[in-house]
Amino acid sequence: MNLDAKIPEGPIAEKWENAKFSYKLVNPANKRKFDIIIVGSGLAGGSAAATLAELGYNVACFCYQDSPRRAHSIAAQGGINAAKNYQGDGDSVYRLFYDTVKGGDYRSREANVYRLAQVSRNIIDQATAMGVPFAREYGGTLANRSFGGAQVSRTFYARGQTGQQLLLGVYAGLSRQIKAGKVTMFTRHEMLEMVTHEGRAAGIVTRDMVSGKIESHAGHSVIMASGGYGNTFYLSTNAMGCNVTASYRAYKKGAGFANPCYTQIHPTCIPVSGEYQSKLTLMSESLRNDGRIWVPKNKEDCKKKPEQIPEEDRDYYLERKYPAFGNLVPRDVASRNAKLMCDEGRGVGATGFGVYLDFSDAIQRLGKKLVEERYGNLFEMYERITGDDPYSTPMKIYPAVHYTMGGLWVDYNLQSTVPGLFVLGEANFSDHGANRLGASALMQGLADGYFVIPYTLGNYLGSEKPEKISTDHAVFKEAEKSCKDRIEKLLAIDGKRTVDSFHKELGLIMWEHCGMARNESGLKKALELIPALREEFWSDVRVPGSGANLNQSLEKAGRVADFLEFGEIMCRDALTRDESCGGHFREEHQTEEGEAKRVDEKFSHAAVWEYKGEGNEPTRHEEPMTFEHVKFSSRSYK
């Protein structure tokens, strides 16, 4: 597997300029001769579709939702980072770059991250021009806030719905191109197969989720922007429909999958309330600014009402263990400690998997009114979901899977190991290393779609001059047949268990053994449990109905079948990465204080998995990560 990252020559600050100059261009008159397929319509896919169409390419864009506006980018609350330094507080491209590499625990590619920081500034300009109503100061300039413990205020936001507003900006541009006839939008279409021809990406096979029709779509290039794989855990903050199928199909057709074990766990989510739970809801991290996290000192107190537990019997464990940072320790530290407390049997709530986030001190100190001003919306949302009033009783929170840093491997040009297949946004592995900073996901999605792919795709088309093959070609017919066969097979099993029951079981295995903290024996156990579950799935799942019309059980079954294979790769990657870094915490590698310990001399690389055919173990490749600008250091929050 060729893992040449194709990093351009020159000093880091000039690499992107140099690259853009060296890229081949496509003559404006020739652009309309190229057909581009884009899978996904979120921030990355939608912005790429709109921008490529503006340039003159013919774009076909696919999403499983009923409208491109509903992609899960919409759910991001907090904001988007950009090195604008509008606040004059010392921010710069270099500082954003530095923070991102360091925050990623030295597992990302410096050149990519630098470019991300560079174009972050253009994103704000572009989004504003598209009508995104960012928060403003009274004087009319843009407002910023500090987010996720950053030392500078570089986060732009639109109330608590920055993701939705940015996506609506993208959707507006996309809508304009659909109207102009430059983008053909396929909603309620799910990609089931990727098609390659002579080693290049040639197109995709989709299922029309309303009519059930299996259709082939050919193009000169395929762009994958299909999001992350957090739903492997069943319970996550992802949308119900988020899935790994598109990425996984590409992987099976030769695209390397990098660092699948990197998952981010968000510490402040509403805990699971019962078996019926379908998803987890994130509460903004800002709550930790004023809330105090605690559990009872004694196990016996866990079932008591929090008001009945006297002050001396409460353990404010983050304040106790990390006096300097207290409740504001980074996401992974806060998450892991909550798990530790619950594993000790000191968790609260119906399931015992929850810790208190208490605002009574804040209310005393600041007054109810100020607390309401700061967190009123969040408290309201919390009360709607749980029925508890956070003004009078502490909130209960627990960590949940939130984002996946791993993804299809891409080079500097965002091209995967399959020529002509480009991967954008959360679906690729590139910029966040082993841990993503708050307010950086939106930034990366838009950077890839608005400002990177329009150049790098042109270079591919201009220099490689790929041919488009007909959808009548045998490779398409074979792919269609394999999709149909798979659907037939799923429908024919007619077993006893529902699709969701398998998904939930897989989720529990993953959460238990490949979640917040991992160890060798657990991962090995998971690697036994998952194949067994997969076997049971293929012999005992019940998928009612037919493939010839709208069938939500069938859609889920196809996705869960892929999760059941993909979960295994995640565990395999977690097992072989015998170190702790960022979101990947191996219990064997921690300091005496319980901090994550990297093993730089062995694991300063991206692990890239190559599919080796049905029943064979995938091969692990490495792309070394070298750091010329950001110095290795380890974190301490004591």
Binding site: R70, I74, Q164
Partner: protein, 250 residues
């Protein structure tokens, strides 16, 4: 709690459909469930009995994507104010309740299956003009135009629309004016959106009419049903902008 559900079941767009009654499948329901989790549980039980589950749309399940869409006991998204169906929790009901669940009803929202409808008409309205025609790369610095906080906040109020279509579902006339007006108001309020304000208003209203939505008779049911609390004053803004554009635009 134990409940009785009457759910609209319809195989596909051509089927005439009807209500099915469910009681056995809705026993022992926890008050902590969300409304959609109730349907999940019912569906699991239906599949176990070898029946087809109830098809319904949902995605983010945190009230922001606008996918979920069902009329619960006569109200779009159910009884709680400013709440989508996915955020509605079973605490809103009590043991023994009878609940009717119907899809959004409008000519422009044909039923695809059971509770799922096709809301493409809303996309068509946006495609007609719900954008600012600036190509990527040509944007000036974001701070080059100052936008007063009041203006930015007003635009944000309108932009909060999640495009779920509850306004259409709630309107006695199945009108999409709140949706259309919110988008127009968002764009027309901002300085960036002003150059195209007239054309945008004409084109989007035209697309809305073409799609076959009803007309507004100022019942304000849309405002009551909106999970994001969009105010019907945006409709007045649209009406004014439309008159201005019709009378002055050449």
């Amino acid at each position: 709690m134990n409940l009785t559900l009457y759910v609209w079941r319809q195989k596909d767009a051509k089927d005439s459909g009807g209500f099915e009654k469910y009681t056995d499948e809705c026993k022992d329901i926890s008050e902590h469930m969300s409304f959609l989790e109730l349907l999940d549980v019912v569906n699991e039980r239906l599949i176990e009995k070898g029946k087809m589950p109830i098809a319904f749309d949902s995605d983010c399940r945190e009230g922001i994507c606008g996918t979920c869409s069902m009329v619960i006991n006569g109200r779009p998204h159910g009884p709680w104010k400013k709440t989508t169906a996915c955020q509605l929790h079973m605490r809103a009901f009590k043991d023994g309740d009878v609940i009717y669940i119907e899809p959004w009803r409008a000519k422009s929202f044909p039923v695809l299956q059971d509770l799922m409808v096709d809301r493409k008409a809303l996309d068509d309205i946006v495609q007609a003009g719900g954008y600012i025609s600036t190509n990527c790369g040509s944007a000036p610095d974001a701070n080059s135009v100052q936008i007063g906080k009041e203006i930015a906040d007003a635009a944000m109020d309108a932009a909060a629309c999640i495009g779920c279509g509850a306004c259409v579902a709630a309107c006695p006339n199945a009108s999409a004016m709140l949706f259309t007006a919110a988008k127009i108001s968002h764009m027309n309020t901002l300085p960036q959106g002003k150059p195209e304000a007239g054309k945008r208003t004409l084109d989007m209203v035209n697309a809305m009419d073409q799609a076959g939505f009803g007309n507004c008779s100022n019942h304000l049911e849309c405002e009551a049903a909106c999970p994001k609390d969009i105010k019907a004053t945006v409709i007045a803004e649209m009406n004014r902008a439309y008159a201005k554009a019709s009378l002055t635009k050449r």
